[in-house]
Symmetry: C2
Subunit: 330 residues, 2 copies
């Protein structure tokens, strides 16, 4: 997304709590107010009080529908009528597709020709129009550029976009409305949209809260960027948490440096163990990327004892034929 999509830079103003509250008012009729689950057994296991914000139960199966809906509804009628475009084969693509359909405008989704069939079908089931490209950033950006020029559609980047960030922040607003006295809040970090929105909302509503970004050790670019003070490229991204392979952009990095206390890492084994715990104890389907935030608390990557910890379970989309911790029985 370097050429076509990085139009906004660190100079783009970050949304504040007021922008997040405006986003909330705008999207509220479209989204689910997702429930907050607790589990006596996981609390017992950790010695903490965990509050799981179930964005796996959000429309399209992830928090991405919040930001996508806010961005689509923020367009003027003039902009909107030409439609929207994005490059993604994951949860953002599905979210943009449904948000656009709800507004009655077209959504073009640029994805590699070799993307998994299930992901393409999900996008198409929400009305997204898939445009295939080669599997390279250059090819993807070129396809996106051509589409924009041909159609006049507005690009909605998955995280380098203040409206998207403001929308993602509404999950933390709801969580803190439901559980005001949290000590800690944890979300996964990839491109940084969810963590940006969460950290702005959480630090504004409750300044003493600790905000932690959760990242797989096998895709630790945000962790390294925090350490070095500049955006580090992804070096290896062989993680089961396939939603967490993007890297920060200047906008999200500047927000994170201001509002996030810590990026914590978990191993692949810890992600899978946490995901299994969530399935068994909460009876919820959580995708690997969504389990990374829970893994930080379950595997005690910081002092959790006695703490009240909010955890955003970011999504629940995965291929049930490819569940990694399951052995076949038939």
């Amino acid at each position: 997304m370097t050429t076509a999509q990085t139009e906004r830079t660190a100079e783009t103003p970050a949304p504040n709590l007021q922008a997040i509250r405006s986003a909330h008012a705008r999207i509220r009729p479209q989204i689910h107010r997702t429930p907050v689950f607790t589990s006596e057994s996981i609390d017992h296991m950790t010695g903490a009080h965990l509050f799981f914000k179930c964005e796996n139960l959000q429309k399209t199966g992830s928090f991405k529908f919040r930001g996508a809906t806010n961005a689509v509804l923020s367009l003027t009628d003039e902009e909107a009528k030409r439609g929207v475009v994005t490059v993604s084969s994951g949860n953002h693509a599905a979210a943009i597709s449904l948000a656009a359909r709800r507004r009655g405008i077209p959504a073009w989704i640029v994805m590699p020709g070799n993307a998994p069939r299930a992901k393409r079908q999900a996008v198409e089931s929400y009305g997204g129009r898939v445009t295939e490209c080669e599997y390279s950033v250059a090819s993807r950006d070129a396809a996106c550029k051509i589409l924009q020029e041909k159609t006049g559609a507005v690009l909605i980047h998955p995280y380098n976009n203040p409206q998207v960030i403001a929308g993602q922040g509404t999950a933390a607003v709801e969580l803190l409305e439901d559980v005001p006295d949290l000590d800690v809040i944890i979300t996964p970090v990839s491109g940084g949209g969810l963590l940006s929105g969460t950290s702005i909302a959480a630090k504004s509503m409750r300044p003493q809260i600790r905000v932690i970004g959760a990242e797989p050790k096998n895709a630790d670019d945000a962790y390294r960027s925090f350490a070095s003070g500049k955006i580090e490229p992804a070096s290896k991204t062989e993680t089961i948490a396939d939603g967490l392979r993007a890297t920060l952009c200047p906008l999200t990095f500047s927000i994170l440096r201001q509002h996030v206390d810590e990026i914590a890492l978990v191993t692949e084994e810890e992600i899978l163990a946490a995901m299994r715990t969530l399935w068994e104890r909460l009876k919820l389907i959580v995708e690997p990327s969504g389990a990374v935030s829970a893994a930080i608390a379950i595997h005690k990557k910081f002092p959790v004892e006695g703490k009240r910890i909010g955890i955003i379970l970011s999504g629940g989309n995965l291929d049930l034929d490819q569940i990694p911790f399951v052995r076949a029985s038939q």
Copy 2:
């Protein structure tokens, strides 16, 4: 359970709505008021409006905790202090164990020595004291009888017990409080406790409602009993819905004949397909037995078009290493 446990007969008075409401008042502080989920995509798929009562999210992972808690709390202090006993290796055993622990009394659980380790561990994690027996009804009943004589513990049968039936009926009360205008309500049927309580509550609160019992074709004894007018034994019970292998008792059969409109059957393939749909669309872990009621609606075993249909998802306990529709990926 023929000798030791079939102490109550058809002459035992069935609970009425008042008994179910009393049970509800008694157990309310102990149980979760489980949410009702809906799914636009499943509604679109069926042409109906489906309301899923999520008893997989109940404590101990199934509706059984309602009946168990009511039965345990209905004991006098004199009875309670000697503890309770039951024969079960499934959800009822876990439910009795936790209900007893909450009252501070012992629970003895008779189960075959060859029961799956995971089930035994679940019972023990809730404080149940496992007593092993041979895998035969005679051995099980003998072990139960000996325990009762030795300890004075009160037997709490999984369904041949009016307090248990009244407790199970509270799920339907909550569902009809949340969605009063249902046309149909569906629960799975095995021994008939849940269906008995549901049918009494539903027909009392909303006389025009249609009550359907859902049963696997491969364990169709309730269906055949309905047809013949007498309790038919289970002939084959090779079903993935391992919680639905019990047969009706005179008490539940008499209630069902009075209040239930129809027993409907589904194949193993239909159960698995429905279970997968629930996992994918609701993002909920539902066990095969719990998916049987949904399968009736999803596979349109009666005219569903335009109907408002309440479906009790009875439980969410299963061994994640043994998920039948999953192929291994690692």
